[in-house]
Amino acid sequence: MKLDLGLSENEEMLKKTALDFMRRDATKEVVQNLQDTDTGCTTELWQKMAGLGWAGIIIPEEYGGTGSTLTSAGVLLEVLGTGPLPGPLFSASILGSSIIMEAGTEEQKRQVLPAIANGSQVVTLAMTEPDFSWEPGAIQTKVSHSNDGFTLDGVKLFAYDAGAATHLIVAASTGDGIGLFLVDRKSEGLSVTRLPGYLAGQTFEVKMDSVRVPQAALLGENANNLQALESAITRSIPVLCAYKVGGCQALVDMTILYSRTRVQFGQLIGRFQRVQDMIIEMVNQLDAARWTTYECLWKLDADRPAAESVHMAKAVTSAAYWEASTLAHRVFSGISYAKDHPASFHTRASRSLYHYLGDPAYHRQRLAKLLTGV
């Protein structure tokens, strides 16, 4: 059989570059300083990443990207997840560019994708609304047609990484279905506000009060782009999962290391069965997350049916990252509750990303439907 679960030569190289980048440019202090910022990133870091070709990693070469596979993107995001390095790389360069590729006209692709690839434009999605459903059917943002374009009215909530965006892709109800509009962040009537919350990370409220956009802002050639949006989300999910896999891996690594140095009751804590059991459970969570994610990436890259895999990967990784960080706190105890302890960065990330592109409840329901028809 063809079974081969190793990385290709290119993927190994990409991984090495990414690990070097993390070691040099995204140290614990850098990650810590980005924790409560609006952008989750600095201009300098962003330019470095774009310079490495990461901002265009899945964008075809003809549009200025490096045209890599989703698996490659997963390998990269996994390494960034070990930080966890926040910032809009996933939201813009994976999800944002996927939407443009799936929904945009040839002209729009030529205009936007190179700008995403070189890092000059950061395009993120504003889809969910106060009803917090990842079902695109729940969208209530309204569009009205005006002579020279459209006017958008509505509120988006839980818009990830909108604070770093130069442009937002706004999903709105056109009457014919769900239209996607590429909106300049600086448009009049548009406000982007970070949602407060101890663990909320980079999620935003986007308010649109008679925001006028030109005709060309409508992605694609018709006013219903729901299928394209769903397809882009489906293809992006396992890359986000890989980021969480990286988080789990970092938590496992730091916890095992701690088990070899921390002494209580005169012995290394890793010799206590209770501590061992917690770490074993963390490793199980990690490995469940890792292999559901990478099989899913492989299926998408190989054009195989992947619907069950996508739902499973998102449900498994969201829960795994949550559990792994909780368990890490139990092993570290006290010190890990300090604001500057790396485990706490992962805890915040695991909670913040739990619902992004659908929480386990949503994906488990969809999976149940696929399995049973009910």
Partner: protein
Amino acid sequence: MDFSLEYTEEQEHFAGEVREWIKENIPDGLVNFRDPMKKTREQWELRREIGRRLGKKGWLFAGYPPEYGGGGIGSDKRFVISREFEKVGVGYPPFYDSARLAVGPILSLGTDEQKQRFLPPIFRGEVTTWQLFTEPEAGTDEANQQTDALRHDKEGEYFIVNGSKIFVGGIYAPPNQFLLLTRSDREAARHENLAMFLAPADLPGITINPLPLFVSGTLAQVNGPTADSSPAIKHQVFFDDVRIHESFLIGGDRDGWRVTTATLDVEHGGGQSAIPLENTAVKRFIEQCRSNPRIQRRLKENPQLLESVVDIFISSEIVRLWGLRNAWIADSGQRAPYVGPQLGLYTKIIGGEIIESLARVLGPYTFIESTEWSLAEDIFEVVQRAGLCFAPAGTPEAQKIIISRALAIGREPRR
């Protein structure tokens, strides 16, 4: 059997008295602080003032001996006080952090002079006390103290203290005094080398620095309306050649572990009976499941989520029932030493699971604190601050050690 917590006639009568007192003594703006981080200094001072009034009334340490300023009040009436304070959203007790922990050892091991000196200010609510046990190398392994308190070579009635303590105190510093565990002998055997002090917090050589946490508390705090003891700002305290007079020593030079065990017994849930209050956060959550249209719609769209609602309800019911059981065991003078830490452990573990269940049902609102968009504020606070920090009042692992001993797993039971 009778599981009822309804007032008896006598209790009902006393409740009227309490309600009257509350109306006269509790100002507006003090109720419903679920999140201690949100309390201003001014509000904190106000609560101290209420503490002093309560102390004067004998209701602060209501069950303790009146000769030292305690209330000498029976458990029936103490329950009424707690319940009435709960109804108006003001926590009761503890009012003053770790003072409760110090009281038992003082009563059983302190000298008469110490009882006269230490207890009245505590009982009257005049002083705040911090517990200084935890050190970087003494977490669950509480006996492994590295902070030295060595008798002065020449002035033998003084101890010289050097070292540091971590994860102590509440949001506002400084307190008046420390319940301070130290190592009094570098050579002596484990458990025979410790000394406990109840010492002033303003001695020369003491430095108190804030230590911000990213989260705080456990689900336990949800069982009452306030939780002063587990805020998201703790402190680190450094001792640099601090001189402490032996009159602040509780018990003997080597009695520290005995004293610690007595305090931990209280802290880990084995202490004085306290009828559990209602889990207001869970109650509010279930109410919202029934009444909040957004949650109703979500539950109808995805009935699989009902499993999480049921999980939350059942675990909080078990916490409530075990709380009743523990109170009954304590009040009826039975001995079942595992039930305290069992409830403590379960509350922590289930606390973490409840948070995850809440996150499932409430979706991304779980983590958003926004006046415009968030769900009930108290639920947000529970999710934000609770369910993650397992350390205060004993890690789950420490509690399991105690439970295993109490159940005599793998050892002959004590007769």
